[in-house]
Subunit: 198 residues, 2 copies
DNA sequence: GACAGTACCGTCCGAGACAGACGGTCAACC
DNA sequence: GGTTGACCGTCTGTCTCGGACGGTACTGTC
């Protein structure tokens, strides 16, 4: 049907409007900021240009309110909802991508001063603890609200990842990376095993 | 000193040349592919344009071999090494960024067909298991080589993250997310606690 | 050694993504 | 009604992205 390729960011916009109903770019900006923005970041300018593109494609409907501030409200069309549904149902071939400056620095560490590792680890521990606190705060505030329950699920993934990172940097700081390997042996859920035997 | 802003990708190039010695873009491409590329991906075209920029800045030295194929070999200058070291020692303020299509789909799942979750989870489980196998294979091949020991450390972080994701998707597939929360309570290393009490 | 076939290697290009400066708009308070 | 500061939208130049494309070396064939 639509031969156009939509970027993940396009689907974020479609998805947010599907969840929230008709929205202005600024509505989206705020909503994204404390939800999906944590695992799919993009500059807010996209939220002003991309919806127009989607409207051109017939996936969003635009209604302009010219009272006072120029303000555009976008709502989902049937075609937009269909496109979103099709994407949701399509296979996901790509592996997630990480971009971690700290990991980069650690990788190249041997070129520099070995003494910088402890401070790097300390920074990372702090950051991940803070992020965990943010996530836990969300769980406390919204965890009991049945309406936001679906969205709590992704938080759970975020928390797992944060804790994984925190465990790593903590073990590194304490010079006991072997502990991680040992701990992993016990945690494997047993659904299947990795293909390389040992 | 240098008022120029280098991107993380620039430092990847400097770092790779620091680790490997003088290299051509293609050398870098292959080397990146099975190492740093796993946690900092970028298109290979960058490896042809960026070194020239770095050479202009005096951070790399260029030697052209005009026998046969035009081929450029870049090596690190003292200023390049200094820039890399300075970066390695500088504080890391940013949190890592994730880009996970699967997580996005999960977040917007309620808009679509709930039945798509199991297949999404199954795909993810497979992907993460495969990636774990790749990493484990590397550990087996290079784990005993003292020279590559430093680089094994980042692998350990990769493995932690992969296992975290695997645990999550497995729990989701089995409909037992609560298990994750319970398990996390026990694993906390105790360096500190999150700021939100419960 | 001419030729074809194939893997290797480098370059280019249009479409987006990006950061962040900038300017307009509003509410509140004096 | 003027001033202030928070709120909201737009714009710009630059960089990134991915992938198509084209050139180059190697290998085997006769």
């Amino acid at each position: 049907m639509s031969a156009v390729r939509l970027s993940p960011t396009s689907y974020v916009i479609l998805g947010m409007i599907a969840l929230r109903g008709p929205s202005t770019p600024y509505d989206l900006k705020r909503a994204v900021g404390h939800s999906v923005g944590y695992f799919w970041n993009f500059p807010h300018a996209q939220l002003y240009s991309e919806p127009d593109r989607l409207a051109d494609l017939g996936l969003l409907a635009l209604s302009v309110e010219d009272s006072g501030r120029r303000r555009k409200t976008y709502s989902l069309t049937d075609r937009g909802r269909a496109a979103l549904r099709a994407w949701l149902a399509s296979p996901t071939d790509e592996h997630f991508q990480m971009r971690d400056i700290a990991e980069l620095k650690l990788f190249f560490n041997e070129v520099g001063d070995p003494d910088s590792v402890p401070s790097l680890a300390a920074e990372q521990i702090k950051q991940h603890e803070e992020r965990i606190a943010v996530y836990e705060g969300m769980v406390e505030r919204f965890g009991d609200d049945p309406a936001s329950r679906p969205r709590m699920i992704t938080l759970e993934l975020g928390l797992e990842m944060e804790h994984a990172a925190l465990r790593f940097w903590t073990a590194l700081a304490e010079g006991d990376l072997d502990r991680l390997r040992r701990a992993r042996k016990g945690t494997t859920t047993g659904t299947s095993s990795s293909t390389t035997a040992e």
